[in-house]
């Protein structure tokens, strides 16, 4: 059963076709990565799923309901959380207050939202830093905070926009462990990722985009041997 279904999705920017008839499903409880070279249309698909803009053609169905064209806050209310590639903490607020903002989406009363937020900080190993201003966190901690905040809204699907970008390999591995744990707990995850180390370690399915079209899909180990994928990443006649 697909939790998120992307069907024949297209989007152009001033004549440039960024996404062209892309279709794929993310199954409930799945952990899927959307990969592809720069300009393949990954971020465009991500932004349409997150409500940043509406597709020109095609539809996005989440839990049986059309969500394309909804605004970002409605997407969140529908049960999709997201992170930003360039992290956007509420810098002037404490770590705890950052997460409370997310938790208020699920629990409008502040004391209960606070309790919810504390539980999530515990889960992401940020509880010890709850009173620090978010601006004082290191990059790996900011990425965790971003995930914590999104989780606090109670999503069924988490969209990760290059969550590993800028991290050192060990930091990357730690975050991979966090996502794997969340997925084991039942959370469906769709990630857009450049860092292949993370994709190979994390994803159970991979969808490869090139020039806005899906050119391959399958398990990570299969996909990296696919001739079409090798061609788009490494050029023709490449030997591996």
């Amino acid at each position: 059963m697909a939790l998120l279904a992307v069907r024949a999705l297209s989007k152009s920017f001033r004549g440039l076709r960024a996404v062209s008839g892309a279709s794929f499903d993310v199954s409930e409880g799945g952990l899927m990565a959307l990969i592809g070279p720069n300009g393949a249309g990954k971020t465009t698909i991500f932004n349409m799923a997150a409500g940043v803009y509406a597709p020109d053609e095609g539809e996005i169905v989440f839990a049986g309901r059309r969500i394309d064209g909804l605004r970002p806050h409605q997407i969140c209310a529908a049960g999709i959380g997201r992170t930003f590639q360039i992290v956007k903490p509420f810098a002037g607020l404490s770590v705890l207050d950052n997460v409370i903002v997310g938790a208020l989406q699920r629990e409008p009363r502040v004391p209960r939202a606070r309790a919810l937020a504390l539980g999530i900080l515990e889960k992401l190993d940020l509880a010890a830093k709850q009173d620090l201003p978010a601006s004082s966190l290191t990059l790996p901690d900011r990425k965790r905070l971003e995930v914590a905040r999104a989780l606090a809204t109670g999503p069924r699907l988490l969209l990760l926009d290059e969550a590993m970008a800028g991290l050192r390999p060990t930091e990357c591995d730690q975050l991979v462990a966090v996502f794997r744990e969340l997925n084991r707990g039942g959370l469906t995850i769709l990630l857009i990722e450049h860092v292949m180390r993370a994709v190979m370690a994390l994803a159970r399915q991979v969808v490869v985009l090139h020039h806005g079209e899906v050119i391959a899909r399958g398990a990570p180990a299969e996909v990296v041997r696919d001739p079409a994928v090798l061609e788009c990443y490494l050029g023709e006649d490449a030997e591996v």
Partner: protein, 323 residues
């Protein structure tokens, strides 16, 4: 705990003040409370929700004219008139907010829009003959000995207590707002609007709410202004200098904090008045000395304590992060 104790001492001192102070000193204190109140109102929009208004004189003026017109033309007292004042100002604020937020106008451009609305309202009121036009609207002055709270006709002490009640009410309201869901959402919007949206916050609606509350609060300052000064001129009450004077207190005291607007208003108003007296006592005639003084203070604050005086002071007093 310490913040509570400090607040209690401050409240007691303010309540007892008329016992010790003469009428002149009380008038300065009233002015301090007036700017503490308007600063608090402006702070809801800018300090909490991050929406810069440079046109708050619009709400002071509309509130003042609404209540004064009802009183002079129809004999309706201020306690009834304030509801019309609030309704008018909320409508004006929401109209500006709808226009700006619908079209994604923010930051400096939003500030310019608020100035524009205040300015053309000022010019508009110059042409409303029914309300006196540029010649002004006047309220009948009773003897300063009367004590008619229902019609706000009375002496300095009465106005002092009315303003104190307003300022205390605004403080309590802001303290509550900051701890409520709205406070969290506003600060999220102030820090990063896109991230706020991604967390399910309908930023359009919450920003409008901030404008509406700020406008409603400011309108009451206008009602007070009308009954306290008994004369209204569009050139004065809608003037941009009125808006600037409202925002100086919170900027000097600390934008987004609860005590900042009070501290800033106290410093600026009291010191400016002392300076005026000093200048007069020396027999000098320096027009605009107050404005120069404000400029110097603002400069010093921006250079040395860009977050305002209150946050570092709160740290010194051991009051945590200054809210």
């Amino acid at each position: 705990m310490r913040a509570g104790a400090l607040l209690a001492v401050l409240a007691a001192a303010l309540v007892a003040l008329p016992l010790a102070a003469n009428s002149y000193f009380l008038s300065v204190a009233t002015l301090v409370l007036y700017f503490a109140y308007t600063g608090q109102a402006w702070n809801v929009m800018m300090g909490f929700a991050g929406q810069l208004s440079l046109g708050h004189s619009l709400y002071v003026g509309l509130g003042a004219y609404a209540a004064a017109a009802l009183f002079t033309k129809f004999g309706v007292g201020p306690w009834a008139g304030m509801w019309l004042a609030m309704a008018l100002c909320v409508a004006a604020g929401v109209a500006i907010g709808l226009l700006a937020f619908r079209f994604g106008i923010s930051g400096v451009y939003f500030a310019l829009l608020t100035i524009a609305f205040a300015e053309f309202t000022r010019i508009g009121f110059d042409h409303i003959g029914w309300l006196g036009g540029p010649g002004g609207l006047f309220l009948k002055i009773e003897g300063r000995k009367t004590f008619d709270l229902a019609n706000l006709r009375g002496g300095q002490t009465m106005f002092y207590y009315v303003m104190l009640a307003l300022a205390a009410g605004a403080f309590a309201l802001c303290a509550w707002l900051l701890r409520s869901r709205a406070g969290y959402y506003w600060r999220a919007i102030r820090e990063d609007e896109e991230a706020a949206r991604a967390l399910g916050i309908n930023t359009f609606r919450w920003k409008l709410l901030a404008v509406a509350i700020s406008a409603a609060m400011t309108s009451l300052a206008g009602v007070f202004f009308a009954f306290y000064y008994n004369n209204l001129f569009p050139e004065q009450i809608f003037h941009i200098s009125q808006s600037i004077e409202i925002i100086l207190g919170p900027i000097v005291g600390g934008i987004g904090t609860l005590f900042g607007p009070i501290l800033g208003a106290a410093m600026l108003t009291a010191l400016a008045d002392a300076l005026n007296n000093l200048v007069a006592a020396m027999g000098w005639d320096i027009p605009g000395v107050k404005q120069v003084f404000y400029g110097v203070i603002l400069l010093l604050v921006v250079v040395f304590v860009p977050n305002g005086i209150w946050p570092p002071l709160a740290k010194r007093l051991g009051l945590g992060r200054g809210s």
